[in-house]
């Protein structure tokens, strides 16, 4: 019998993790990527990777707490069994990465050092300088090279995934892809397909994402019938450096090591930040969230930065909105040892040394919490049944999704340093399920049938490509169209959303989609044609852009990264204590009603006319009951009190 083979699309942390684990399980892997896998976007992750550890444990931390922080940080939108399993695996994953040679920072005694990240009160985050993602990526890249040397892994680097090949029973039998150098299109036969192609930041034009994060592979399986869930949940990171080509991230670890966010109390104070005295600075996060301070979750920090600039007019510059992120008060030795990587980025691109002068930062699109819908098999204890082919498998048989391009783990908002662990986790734990799936496949169809299936698919993609090259001149410019799409999406579908704007944007995006199909190419050659690859990726951004807008438009509530001012919760701010108490009661009532309606995953499927059709899926919240997400906000203690007494009453009623 022919050896089983799996195509993995994407060579970042998740793709490499699944590839090396599949190779270990003696399944052959074809690893496909838009870039050399060592140059994948995981390299950009800076801050670290989370797990409970020996130190936090002694301060009362546990896997359950990591699980709870993640679920609470994600505003309860994630199915809980995968998150629980992730939290319990996290310490083992970091041990494994340590064995693989990741140069984690050390304590004087030689243990792995940890720092604190957002959305938790524990220092759970292991790190390698401020380039943790790069270091983890390299460790897995090295392991995959080892399997490449033994022939288990074959790389298809600089190949563009064009779409899955499905047989007449709807089962995935491989894919069609294009070599981005020779421009040859080829069908690749496989027993399963694993999507690990990351997020879709390019839909927003400039973001913190890499160029390859264009969502094209995801869009192509979405167009082939795979469902896409929670598309509207896009994380906007609070601290990035604006740039002409990219918005470069300044990691949360800057705040984890003691960095503070502030604005001058005098609007646009002309003095250099270092000369503004302490009492004339407004540390707005510390002021409003005394418990978590600068380390509130990202969605909250982002909205506060917007708020302080837009509503309170306290932006540092008048022409370009920004606030200060200040590490200049921290010891130089600490900055060099723990944050050098990110401080160098600021210095290289802005020409200012952040060790001396506060950085100017503003929020930027950063992470795709939503993604391809995929399944999981729950155990009686509420964890995952490892080895089940249902884990990470999409609704199309034989297509799996892992890493940033799936929709598990992070719910409505991802906590810092949880993405790296989720990528490695989903890759490592999907592998046994994928192996079981391919090893239990029925016999292959007869050669004739197979040949016609693959040749047919290949010919369809070749025809689409030829038609694109043959388009007449004078049509829309794909690069300008992309800039327009990015500006529109950033304006209406990021930190603050309004229904009339979303509605108008949807119509505009549909009109742009039609234009993208007519976009002219400036290169019609058949050798390393980046123009054609870009124009095709642009066309494929629209199904996802429309899904993001539709999901956002339909969801009339505020949850995690999705925020509509018209649907905010009522205030608890009356002067009279009794009235305040009453307001807190109303708040809790509203909270419960809203959860009944909206504590659901959005699941989109693309209809044949290219319109996303939404339905809603119940979220498994059986392990940790949903509760108000307050993060020690000033005034939140009353809501918490009211909520706790309501819960106590409810429990008492259940008992009697």
């Amino acid at each position: 019998m022919r050896k089983r083979r799996v195509v993995v699309v994407g060579g970042g942390l998740a793709g490499l993790a699944v590839a090396m684990k599949l190779a270990e399980l003696d399944v052959d892997v074809a690893l496909m990527s838009l870039s050399k896998v060592k140059r994948s976007h995981s390299a950009c992750a800076q801050g670290g990777i989370n797990s409970v550890n020996i130190l936090t444990r002694q301060l009362g931390d546990s896997e359950w707490n990591h699980f709870d922080d993640t679920v609470y940080g994600g505003d309860f939108l994630a199915h809980q069994p995968p998150v629980k399993e992730l939290a319990y695996w996290a310490p083992q994953i970091i041990d494994l990465m340590d064995r693989l040679g990741v140069t984690f920072n050390r304590t004087p005694e030689g243990f792995r050092d940890q720092r604190r990240f957002g959305g938790t009160l524990y220092s759970r985050t292991a790190f390698a300088g401020a380039t943790t993602g790069q270091q983890l990526l390299y460790a897995l890249d090295e392991q995959v090279r080892r399997w490449e040397a033994t022939g288990h892994v074959t790389k298809f680097e600089m190949w563009d995934f064009l779409g899955p090949v499905l047989d007449d029973r709807g089962r995935c039998r491989g894919c069609v892809a294009q070599d981005m150098v020779s421009m040859k299109i080829r069908a690749v036969e496989a027993d399963a397909l694993v999507l690990a192609s990351g997020g879709c930041g390019a839909i927003f034009g400039r973001s913190t994402n890499s160029i390859a994060c264009n969502g094209s592979a995801v869009s192509r399986v979405f167009q082939a019938g795979v469902h896409y869930a929670n598309g509207e949940f896009i994380q906007v990171h609070p601290t990035a450096i604006p740039g002409a080509d990219k918005l470069r991230l300044i990691s949360e670890s800057a705040r984890g090591e003691g960095g503070r966010v502030w604005v001058p109390r005098t609007p646009q104070d002309p003095r250099p930040p270092g000369e503004i005295p302490e009492k004339e600075r407004f540390y707005f996060l510390e002021h409003r969230y005394p418990t978590y301070g600068n380390l509130v979750p990202r969605d909250i920090a982002t909205r506060e930065v917007f708020n302080v600039c837009v509503k309170e007019h306290l932006s540092v510059d008048s022409e370009r909105m920004c606030v200060y992120l200040d590490v200049s008060h921290l010891p130089r030795e600490l900055l060099d040892r723990k944050l050098a990587g990110i401080l160098e980025i600021y210095e290289k691109f802005q020409g200012v040394d952040p060790r001396r002068t506060a950085m100017k930062i503003f929020p930027a699109v950063h992470y795709t919490m939503g993604g391809l819908w995929c399944d999981y098999e729950r155990t009686a204890e509420g964890g995952l049944a490892i080895g089940s082919p249902r884990n990470q498998q999409t609704n199309v048989s034989g297509i799996f999704a892992i890493g940033e391009c799936d929709y598990h783990f992070h719910g409505a908002n991802r906590l810092g340093a949880n993405s790296l662990v989720a990528c490695v986790f989903s890759g490592l734990t999907a592998a046994p399920g994928v192996a079981n799936y391919v090893n239990h496949l029925p016999r292959h169809p007869a050669d004739e049938e197979r040949r016609s299936l693959f040749e047919g698919s290949q010919r369809r993609h070749e025809a689409r490509y030829k038609a694109m090259l043959a388009r007449p001149e004078g049509g829309p410019n794909p690069y300008r169209l992309h800039a327009r799409l990015g500006e529109l999406m950033t304006r209406v579908a990021t930190a603050i959303r309004h229904n009339p704007e979303l509605e108008a944007a949807y119509a505009e995006v549909c009109e742009m989609e039609e234009q993208a199909r007519r976009a002219s190419l400036s290169d019609r050659g058949d050798w390393a044609n980046q123009n054609a690859v870009f124009a095709r990726a642009l066309e494929d951004m629209f199904p996802l852009a429309k899904t993001i807008l539709r999901g956002a438009l339909a969801r009339d509530e505020c949850r995690g990264a999705h925020y509509k001012p018209e649907f905010t919760m009522p205030q608890v701010d009356a002067d009279d204590p009794a009235e305040r108490r009453r307001q807190a009661e109303i708040w809790c009532q509203r909270f419960e009603e809203n959860n009944r309606k909206w504590l659901k995953s959005t699941v989109a499927r693309l209809s044949s006319d290219g319109e996303p059709q939404l339905s809603y899926e119940e979220v498994d919240t059986t392990l940790i009951p949903p509760r108000p997400r307050l993060y020690g906000v000033v005034g939140g203690e009353l809501i918490e009190e009211a909520w706790n007494s309501r819960q106590a009453t409810a429990t008492a009623q259940e008992r009697s």
Binding site: S40, L96, G101
Partner: protein
């Protein structure tokens, strides 16, 4: 953001500037210069310049041309993809800031592909040889399995700090471009070659060529790792084989151009010492 370099550019009142690109339509084709004109914007780097060129696809004298092809991904100098020769110096296009370049050489920026790797097209080169060298020196920790077998070994802060320097290598190829002993190897695809046959011939040719500073530093990295050290001799065998450390002429150019400031000459000195000891030991053990 006002920086010293951008204020210098403002003084010259830069509204437009020229970009000279050395283009090549494909492998084994003749290269040619092409002039583009780009409107100046704040905070530009060479990536945004190339993006503008792709968008316009028109030369300075108004001729319609295909967009210039180049490689890039992260745009923040951690992936290594966008390495090219800019104003005569090998570096990453993302961190090559336009205002600084124009301050050094007013009016024009010059972009060329790296010269030590076969050109695929324009500024995009084939750096597969870098990755083949990593395979040759077994640049990985050969763990037993990916099951849970406890943590790695404890490590001092000092050794972690040194290892971290080496492990930041992003395989960009700057050290190889600057190295007098690293010579271009271009394997042509023959008619009738299957992709597999071509790769085999290419890899054999790469393995015979000099591995270069980056691979030597990776040997140091993995041989200093507590678990990696267990198969140090395998890496030293590769290091002393054809195309190994003995080719290094000690020009010390590599360390000067490394964007990550990896102590490459230190690594070469240390690896050289280990290689000598390893060879002697093998000789006495015969």
């Amino acid at each position: 953001m006002i920086t010293s370099s951008s204020s210098a550019a403002d003084r010259n009142d830069v509204r437009e500037f020229d970009v000279r690109v050395l283009r090549q339509d494909g492998p084994a084709q003749v290269s040619y210069w092409e002039q583009h004109r780009v409107a100046h914007e704040p905070d530009m780097n060479c990536i945004s310049v190339l993006q503008k060129i792709a968008e316009k696809a028109t030369t300075a004298d108004g001729r319609k041309v295909a967009p210039v092809v180049w490689d890039c991904n992260c745009l923040e100098e951690v992936c290594g993809a966008c390495t090219m020769v800019i104003n005569g110096r090998v570096r990453q296009a993302c961190t090559a800031l336009v205002d600084k370049l124009l301050a050094e050489r007013p009016g024009e920026i010059e972009l060329r592909p790296m010269t030590k790797f076969p050109v695929i097209r324009d500024l995009m080169v084939d750096r597969q040889r870098i990755f083949d060298s990593l395979m040759k020196v077994s640049a990985w920790v050969p763990v037993d399995s990916y099951h849970h077998l406890g943590p790695g070994l404890r490590q001092s802060q000092e050794s972690q700090q040194l290892a971290y320097l080496y492990s930041k290598c992003m395989s960009c190829g700057c050290c190889l471009e600057a190295c007098p002993q690293y010579l271009k190897i271009e394997v042509a695809c023959r008619d009738g070659d299957t992709p597999e046959e071509f790769r085999t011939r290419q890899r054999e040719a790469h393995d015979r060529g000099f591995m270069g500073a980056h691979a030597i530093a990776q040997v140091e990295l993995f041989n200093s790792n507590p678990i990696g050290a267990m198969n140090a001799s395998e890496r030293l065998d590769a290091l002393t084989s054809e195309g190994g450390i003995q080719i290094c002429g000690n020009a010390q150019n590599c360390v000067k151009v490394c964007p990550k400031e990896i102590p490459l000459t230190w690594a070469i000195a240390r690896a050289g010492r280990s290689a000598t000891l390893h060879t002697l030991k093998k000789w006495f053990d015969r």
